[in-house]
């Protein structure tokens, strides 16, 4: 029993660790995709956020300023994507691919200049995003250890769950959300009702970059303490997958990210204890995602105007 609770606690801990950055990025992806703009540049925006977050935290000594700047760096690349796709009507896939090259390319070059290395200097404990409820639980008992594993978690994790609720509220309970969803379904209708589609989409794509940037910063400012070129390897794409999995709804994306995180957590525990080959275990999250898709989720209804540039006739 003790073993079970220990393992289970570790799995849940790992679930949260994996899911947090994905969730930020997935929420970002929701904004962009639901407003009608395909954003495969999430990966590049995360990388920019990961680097900027650590660097600013390193120089200011304040993790929160760093975290925020990570978001802003993502938003900057979001803005580039928005200018190309929303204002100029560029192909969204091509522009996103460009962002995925530009983001890492630029930040790694800056890293070279600042640190004469592609890696940043590791953050000290006080420069990292703090853990909440650390030491609150009595780790000498099984239950206490379990609670410590699950709840003594980074502040960014608590924040992201709050963000899910806020984004859900914005999407479904506010004027902004109603209009944002309408823009992704029928931009012409919005225009005839006096809603500024261009401004709406521009905002959403920038927001998606901001959230992706926060997600990236989460990766390098919590468990890992430094930025390396391989800090962000595919999390951005996984986040996009989670959004498609969640049928373009923030709460759906939450399920997708948690499922993915949980499988990754399982991987950690199984990898340590069972005799099964590590690489095979590493496949679990991807295989499980596909199986769950087949069994329970099925077809994802893409917002009707998703991917189609909206060009106003003058």
């Amino acid at each position: 029993m003790t073993n079970f609770w220990n393992s289970f606690g570790i799995i849940l801990y790992a679930t949260l660790i994996y899911a947090t950055p994905l969730l930020y990025a997935a929420l970002g992806s929701c904004f962009s995709e639901v407003s009608g703009v395909v954003n495969i540049g999430i990966e590049g925006m995360m990388t920019a956020g990961a680097f900027t977050g650590t660097v600013i935290a390193y120089f200011t000594g304040n993790p929160w300023i760093g975290f925020l700047c990570g978001g802003l760096a993502g938003a900057f690349f979001g803005m580039l994507h928005a200018i190309a796709t929303v204002n100029l009507g560029a192909d969204q896939t091509i522009a996103g691919t460009a962002i995925n090259m530009l983001g890492p390319g630029i930040v790694i070059m800056i890293a070279k200049v600042l640190f004469n290395s592609t890696d940043t200097v590791p953050l000290t404990a006080s420069q990292k995003i703090p853990k909440l409820f650390s030491g609150v639980f009595d780790t000498s008992t099984v239950f206490g250890r379990f609670m410590d594993n699950v709840f003594a978690n980074y502040a960014s994790t608590y924040l992201v769950f709050l963000a899910v609720i806020v984004v859900w509220f914005v999407f479904y309970k506010t004027r902004f959300g109603l209009r944002l969803r309408a823009c992704g379904e029928h931009p012409q209708a919005c225009e005839t009702l006096g809603i500024n589609v261009i401004a709406m989409r521009f905002t959403c794509v920038c927001l998606s970059g901001f959230l992706a940037g926060l997600g990236g910063a989460c990766v390098t400012m919590t468990v890992s303490t430094q930025f390396r070129p391989i800090s962000i390897v595919g999390q951005g794409f996984i986040a996009i997958a989670a959004v498609i999995f969640g049928k373009f709804r923030p709460h759906g994306a939450l399920v997708g990210c948690l499922l993915f995180g949980f499988c990754s957590g399982l991987k950690v525990v199984l990898g340590g204890s069972s005799g099964i080959n590590m690489h095979l275990i590493s496949m679990i999250p991807y295989v499980v995602t596909v199986i769950v898709l087949i069994l329970f989720v099925g077809k994802s209804r893409v917002p009707a105007a998703n991917g189609k540039p909206y060009i106003k006739t003058k």
Partner: protein
């Protein structure tokens, strides 16, 4: 029209000498329009005459190159629809501007949503919507999703959208194009209710009869130019038609008497479901013989679309038989039906009819690219393909000439339809199915399309015509089958048909009990 509500001393809209250019192309060339309080004013013109361009300027979607717009006597400049809405103008577009997965209420309030703090106040929104719909007698279900309601109700939602924004001037763009005769009567009643209430209505249309029935005044536009504004009571339909087209038009289709031959298409006890999985064709029987045109009259949504999709193999049916020259093509792929004698002019030419990115020559071989001489051993033969295209372009008057290699998407609607007709007629199959073959075409192109359909009949082909335009059905068909609720409820000779009876049966009045 009695003009009892028209207040001739109060012009609400004045458009003066409006010019709108797109590059070198002049879409509106000095148009004048005056609409008074309580007036129903029709704008008549062929497709491409510049009606929609004119109205889009009045609704702030486009900016005039020159000219003035006055609303309630005050000159205003509109930069976007918001300005038009603020000036009390509302527009119902021909293609409804509705967000499919949203509810009726959400669609109506979108853009002017009531809020409580930061939260949407949907309860108030719903209350307001119900209130206003009752006030003007526009019945709707405030909670239904748009994708689940009928076209007629969608139109009422569109009108409510404008009224909800406090519109005093309503622009209706081709409002009757997908309505039944009964729904049109209802719409005209609604329009009268609205003018009684002091609203003004501008209705864009090319249907003369409706103008006679509903409008007080009519402004005619031809090829971008202002022709005249007339008092509807003082002109007849023929006058309107010649002003619109600029010449005398005949609405009669010449059709020699001929005796039909053996049965080509025999549909027996057909059942099928729509995209939501609800049974929509319910044991339908239908026959089309050689040398006759069978017209299917019916309100959109009674199964005619699905019927055609099952016959052409695009949709799987539940049960039944579809015999074409004796071969059952039921639930066979489209290619099978084609090989056994089915050709068709699809309802949506841009969706089903053409690959818009493909050149005209490639579109002309959409079904027979695998046949000699267009390909040999799986390799396309460009010379025969090109020659075939040249012949088709000449033979079917596709403009512009020498357009063999041009993407089909760059052609005008009428010429796109000619490409499809050229292809389907040259396929030379025993059965030709035509679904709304003239939708969105102007008078010249309509005459052309009708000529080819009648030619096919005269050549001894079986023709199945499905159309929401009752006039089209009545002028072309040898036999009219009325479809209602997934069944053919009656079948009458074309020459005996009259519009009122048909309308009644289309609405279910003639259902066999």
């Amino acid at each position: 029209m009695s003009k009892e509500y028209v207040d001739m001393s109060t012009p609400v809209i004045e458009m003066r000498n409006i010019v709108k250019k797109f590059g070198d192309f002049v879409a509106n060339d000095g148009i004048n329009l005056t609409v008074h309080k309580g007036e129903i004013h029709a704008i008549l013109g062929e497709n491409g005459a510049g009606k929609s361009t004119l109205m889009n300027q009045l609704y702030g979607l486009l900016k005039p190159t020159s000219g003035d717009i006055l609303v309630n006597g005050k000159k205003i400049v509109m930069n976007n629809p918001r300005d038009a809405i603020d000036a009390g103008i509302g527009m119902v577009h021909q293609h409804f501007m509705l967000v499919q997965p949203f509810s009726v209420t959400e669609n109506i309030v979108l853009g002017t949503e009531p809020v409580k703090g930061v939260k949407l106040d949907m309860a108030t929104a719903r209350k307001n919507v119900v209130e206003i719909s009752e006030r003007y007698g526009l019945s709707i279900d405030p909670d239904a999703k748009i994708e689940d309601i009928s076209v007629g109700m969608q139109q009422r939602v569109e009108i409510l959208k404008a009224l909800y924004r406090g519109a005093d001037i309503l622009i209706l763009d081709e409002p009757t194009s997908s309505l039944t005769p009964q729904e049109i009567v209802e719409l005209i009643a609604i329009m009268h209710n609205l003018v009684k209430d002091g609203k003004s209505i501008i209705i864009i249309t090319h249907k003369l009869k409706e103008i006679k029935e509903s409008a007080d005044f009519c402004t005619i536009i031809r090829m971008g130019k202002y022709i005249d504004t007339v008092d509807v009571d003082k002109v007849d339909e023929n006058d309107l038609a010649s002003m619109m087209v600029g010449r005398k038009v005949s609405f009669k289709v010449d059709k020699p008497e001929q005796t039909p031959g053996e049965v080509v298409l025999d549909v027996k006890d057909l059942h099928c479901k729509d995209y939501r999985g609800i049974e929509i064709v319910k044991g339908l029987n239908l026959q089309v013989r050689r040398g006759e045109i069978v017209g299917i009259a019916g309100i959109d949504g009674n199964g005619q679309t699905e019927l055609v999709e099952v016959i052409t193999g695009l949709r799987k049916g539940v049960s039944g038989h579809i015999l074409v020259n004796g071969t059952d093509v039921f639930n066979k792929p489209p290619r099978f039906g084609f090989e056994h004698g089915v050709s068709s002019i699809p309802a949506d030419r841009q969706k089903h009819g053409l690959v818009l990115d493909f050149s005209i020559e490639d579109n002309l071989i959409l079904q027979n690219y695998e046949e000699n001489p267009f390909s040999k051993r799986k390799v396309l033969q460009r010379d025969p393909i090109f020659k075939h295209a040249t012949q088709s372009i000449d033979g079917y008057d596709i403009r512009p000439r020498q357009s063999e290699k041009r993407p089909a998407g760059t052609l005008s609607g009428g010429n796109q339809q000619k490409v499809i007709i050229a292809r389907e007629v040259q396929n030379d199959k025993d059965l030709l199915i035509a679904v709304n073959p003239t939708r969105g075409l102007d008078v010249g192109a309509i005459e052309y399309v009708h000529k080819y359909i009648v030619d096919q009949r005269n050549k001894g082909k079986a023709v199945l015509l499905v159309s929401f335009e009752l006039d089209e059905i009545m002028s072309l068909s040898d036999v009219i089958d009325v479809i209602f609720d997934g069944q053919i409820v009656c079948s009458i000779p074309g020459k005996d048909a009259n519009e009122n009876d048909l309308g009644l049966m289309m609405a279910g009045g003639g259902k066999k009990s």
